[in-house]
Symmetry: C2
Subunit: 112 residues, 2 copies
DNA sequence: TCCACTATTCGATAGTCGTTGAAATATCGG
DNA sequence: CCGATATTTCAACGACTATCGAATAGTGGA
């Protein structure tokens, strides 16, 4: 996982609506939620939601699957964990930062 | 730690130069690095570096202190850990996401 | 005091982001 | 096939981001 990928993921999450949408999807679990439901919960226009889900998909943070006429979005936990791994890898990189991120950063996915 | 604060922090890190700068500062430890050194390492103009350090400071991710005529910037590990705590708190929020972020997310700082 | 050094502020500019309504696409039920 | 539902694509717009050079402010040494 290189810096550019991490930047994309962080940029995707660095927005009020996208962070809220991602949170909803995390809570929804693997089943995910249909686009319309997310847009309604966030209080934004359907076309705006599409714009944001596209950003999240390009960052590999969510996946899309069709169920009848609805498009369900679900959080990609692996990608999210890679990002966290990269950040915690940077944190405590051989230094005494006094945080508990060290043992966490040992996640194998960090070096992907 | 509310969502808006997390969004600010993520936005601050969601840029090639700022993520690189933050990484440099993490590696530099509490002593930090002077502005000129960071700008040189990143290959950007001094005024551009100021722009980015301001973003990082507004997000509380770095601190600034004067040493003679140089301004040293240092990573704010507490703030960084709060952000990670928030993200891991969202991740695995009572769900089986299959990641190791659950036990990590138990960090007390998450609820700050 | 005067100069060199370090970094910031200012002004201008090109590019990207986020939003929406309207139109188009895809799917299902009858 | 046709209408209804769900979502995306398109075009346009205002706002913000990132960049740099030039000018300004703060610090230390001679």
């Amino acid at each position: 996982m290189d810096a550019a990928t991490v930047v994309d993921a962080l940029a995707a999450l660095a927005h009020e609506h996208r962070l809220a949408a991602f949170r909803l999807l995390v809570e929804a679990g693997p089943a995910g939620l249909p686009a319309g439901t997310i847009a309604e919960r966030l209080g934004i226009a359907p076309s705006s939601l599409t714009f944001h889900t596209r950003e999240l998909m390009q960052a590999r943070l969510v996946t899309q699957r069709r169920v009848s006429r609805q498009l369900f979005y679900a959080a990609n936990f692996d990608a999210m964990n890679d990002v966290l791994g990269y950040l915690t890898e940077n944190c405590c990189a051989g230094e005494a930062c006094g945080l508990e991120c060290g043992p966490t950063g040992s996640a194998g996915s960090a070096a992907r």
